[in-house]
Each structure stands twice: as structure tokens, then as C-alpha cells.
Amino acid sequence: MDDFVLRALAAGLGAALAAGPLGSFIVWGRMAYFGEALAHSALLGVALGLAIGLDPTWPVILVAGLVALMLAWLQGSRDLATDTLLGIVAQASLALGLVVLAFLKTVRVDLLAYLFGDVLAVTPSDVAFIWIGAAVALASLWRIWRPMLSLTVHEDLARVEGVDVPKIRVAFMLLIALVVAIAMKIVGLLPITALLIIPAATARRFSRNPEQMAVLAAALGCLAVAAGLWGSFVWDTPSGPSMVVASVAGFVLSRIGAGVRLVRPS
């Protein structure tokens, strides 16, 4: 197997491992639009990075992190429904990113590679960054696991019991920003939400407690990444969408399997 295939696989597995547990919280807390908004804002980070001649990874972390903080702050105001707010932020940052890219006439950008992932673009240092980022994300999530789970179930109850809700919330949003940045290269910006929520949704019916679901989501995400990459090489399809297709296939299979089990007399 070629080196770049192994690199792509390593990158994808690292991203999927972090995405499973974080995606479980996104599913539990009904925050899918939030992940989407952060993923879209990352394009602005890419554009700004290219404009100042930097590798886009750090600008993406910076922009997604700032957007996460801004969303956390804006959610405090009650004038707008959260989904409206997220829609505005997502569309605004995506559009801004595209406009900034259009101004960069001297820079030739493979936009599709950023939007949908490019397996050939993964360098050894990318792989290292993805695994370090994933390790940091998972370790941080582990530290806030109990309070985050408690506030996901009932925020007021968590606050009365002493959970610093705003702090935990902001920490979680920053973790999502980090995962967006590490998954960007291999998965692409647009399908990131899918990698976060579909494995978690598939894992639900096989889990009896939150931790089972998180671990299973990570495992299913890895399977989807491997299957998607394989398909991407065989049929020369974009890597991110291929992983999403594999992930959705798993989700549909699990639903059909459950249906069959229900029909079969016990």
C-alpha cells in the first residue's frame, strides 16, 4: 500500500476517534446546527490563512474558536431563536470565506479539497497534528464529562448542584472547534457534521449508557472512515462524502436490522 493511503487512513481514524464521543454530546444536546455553523465558519479561517500565507490549520482553529465564543455569548440574549442565530453565523462565515478567496487572485485554491476533503493532501505533519489534536480533545472531554453530561440532561439542575454551566459550555464549544480543524483536511468542511452525528445516531440503539454510546460511535466512525477511503480510492470519489455515504449505509443497515429483529417472533 502506498504511503499516502496509510497517511489518509491514519488521519481519518484520528478524526473519527475524536468525533464519536463529541458527536454523541451534539446528538444528546440537539446541537447539530451548532456543529454545522462551526464547520462553515472554518472556510473563513481557510481563506484568511491563505490571504496571509499561512497553513490554514491555525487560522481555522482561531476563527472557529472565536465563532464558538461568539455563539456562546449570543446564546445568552433571548431576542433570536438559536437556530436562526446559527443559520446567520454559518451562512455569513461561509459567504465571507468565499468572498475573501475570490479576492486572492494570485493564489490558486483547490476549493473542493477544503470543502470535501482530499486524501492526497494529507502530509505526515498533518497526521501528527490530527492525532495530537484528537488526543487533546478526548482528554479534555474526559475532564468535563460528568458536568457536561449533567447539564445536557437538565441545565438548571446541574447549576443548582454546582456545575459552572457557562464555563463547561464554552469548553465544549472550543473542543468542537478543534475537531472541525483536525477533521477538515481529510473529511472536508461540509461533511464534518455528518461524521459527528451519524455514527452517534447509529450507536444509540446498541447502547445502555452514555459511555457505551460514545465508544461505539468512535468505533463506527472509524469503520465509516476506512470504508469511505477504500471507496474513494477504488472509484476516485471525494474522500469526505465517501465516508459520509459509508456512515449512512451503516445507519440504514442498523435500522433495517432492528426492524427485522422486531418482526421476528421472540
Binding site: 440532561v153 438548571d156 443548582v160 448542584e161 449508557n209 454510546m213
Partner: protein
């Protein structure tokens, strides 16, 4: 029971609470105190601001004016009104209790046992009936050995038999631990036998005092109508028994503390 609890310094006092949502005044100059060993019921029609007041008392909502003072080091157990756990989150009742930060399995088992929910400890939260879920949420509230229990509509969605069992349970908790209890209900009748003091609010405090005094207060009658006063007689009775799981009548161990007369 002789109500000399008010001689002690209160566990919690709220004084002159004003809350506004935009231009709408939700609470105007509301005051309230809960003492050790005392059960205070907060009643009022829907939308009267009961839950808002509870959120102020718990420190979840800052009032526009007024202040809330608590005894230093006060431990509060809180039972929120509606706790619906999403279908998508797999979690057992015992694990739900552990989310409080108290993970000692024997303490969790004791709390569930105390509220009569030991059977459902390993059951998925979303599979529980309304009554079972209320008991589990109550178990989480008492898990931290609170000095003050704040219960928002503790019997909501529970059938009549289950309601009186839960109220007996709450009174028993007070008798055993001596904690103070602030309880929200939209219906005075069912809390008559349980409560020591009633605070009736409708954006302001309409009337406050002993349950039977409140039930005859003109402002109370204006709010709830004369029909409410008639139904009262049905509920003013001593609880000298409870029902076991098959519905059989079982004498209550501490019956003398329940069979008190009012007035």
C-alpha cells in the same frame, strides 16, 4: 404538630423580589421564608410566577429588585418541574443520580430505596412511567442530604394514589431529616394535609399563612373560586396509612405525626 419552627433562624429568605421579563412584571414585591423542619407550599394559578420565584430562590435567575439570603453552607436539593430525558440519551436511573457528582453506589441505592424506586434502578430513564420518573428525580434531590428541598410540582403526572404516597414520602423526609421544604403546587387541596404554611401567589403574594386560613381568604377564593372551597373538605383528613405496591392499606410507622388536625 406545633409550629415553633419559626423561632429558629430561617434557612432561606427572599425579600421584596421583583422580576420583569421585558416590560411584563412577573413578580412584584414577593417575600418568603423557609425554616428548618417546615413545609412551605407555593400555590397559584398557571402562569402566576411560581416557577420563576423558585428559579430566583435557587439563584438561577437574578431578580430586578429584592434579595435572597440563605444560611451559610446551605445544601439545596432541587427537583425540577419537567424533566424529560431525550430518547437519544441512553441512561439508567442509577446513573442519572450519579450525574449529581455523588457516585457512591450504596448512597444511590439508599436514596432510590427511600423513594420506593429501588426496582427501577437499572431501568432506562426513558422507559419509566411518570410516577417512577418523579420518584427518581426526587431521589436525586435528596441524594446530597440537603438542608432544604425545593420541589417544583413534585407530583405532576402522577395518579391520585401515587400522589398521596409521594406526599407521605415528602412529609416523612421532613420528619426524619428535619430539612425545610419549599414545594410548588397549582392545587391547594392536595397539599392541605402535608403543608405547614401556604404562600399563594399571583404575580404578588395574595395571602399567606396556615392552609385552612388561606383556603378561606377572600383573595384565594377570588383566584380559585368557591368550587375550590367545597372540594377542600374532601382532602382535609389525616394520613394514618399508606398503600403498598399491591394497593393494600398499610399502617404508617410515624402515623401520629401525620394524623394532626389543623386549626
Amino acid at each position: 404538630m406545633n409550629r415553633d419552627v419559626e423561632k429558629n433562624p430561617p434557612l432561606l429568605t427572599a425579600e421584596g423580589i421583583d422580576v420583569r421579563f421585558g416590560s411584563r412584571s412577573v413578580l412584584a414585591h414577593v417575600s418568603l421564608a423557609v425554616h428548618r423542619g417546615e413545609i412551605v407550599s407555593l400555590i397559584g394559578p398557571n402562569g402566576a410566577g411560581k416557577t420563576t420565584l423558585v428559579r430566583v430562590v435557587l439563584g438561577l435567575l437574578a431578580p430586578a429588585r429584592g434579595r435572597v439570603a440563605t444560611k451559610p453552607g446551605l445544601r439545596i436539593g432541587y427537583m425540577p418541574q419537567a424533566l424529560a430525558v431525550d430518547e437519544i440519551l441512553p441512561i439508567t436511573a442509577a446513573r442519572f443520580l450519579a450525574l449529581s457528582g455523588i457516585t457512591d453506589r450504596s448512597r444511590i441505592a439508599r436514596a432510590l430505596d427511600l423513594v420506593g424506586a429501588a426496582r427501577v434502578a437499572e431501568g432506562q430513564l426513558r422507559d419509566l412511567s411518570g410516577g417512577e420518573l418523579r420518584r427518581v428525580v426526587l431521589a436525586r434531590a435528596i441524594l446530597r442530604n440537603p438542608d432544604l428541598l425545593v420541589l417544583d410540582e413534585p407530583v405532576q403526572g402522577v395518579d391520585v394514589v401515587g400522589q398521596s404516597e409521594l406526599y407521605d414520602l415528602i412529609t416523612g423526609l421532613r420528619d426524619r431529616t428535619g430539612c425545610g421544604i419549599l414545594m410548588v403546587s397549582h392545587d391547594l387541596h392536595v397539599v392541605m394535609a402535608t403543608t405547614d404554611k401556604v404562600v399563594c401567589i399571583n404575580h404578588h403574594v395574595c395571602c399567606t399563612g396556615h392552609p385552612e386560613t388561606v383556603s378561606r381568604h377572600p383573595e384565594y377564593l377570588a383566584l380559585f373560586g368557591p368550587y375550590a372551597a367545597q372540594r377542600l373538605a374532601l382532602y382535609t383528613h389525616g394520613h394514618d396509612h399508606r398503600h403498598d405496591e399491591s394497593g393494600e392499606v398499610v399502617p404508617l410507622a410515624g402515623a401520629d405525626t401525620h394524623g394532626h388536625r389543623h386549626g
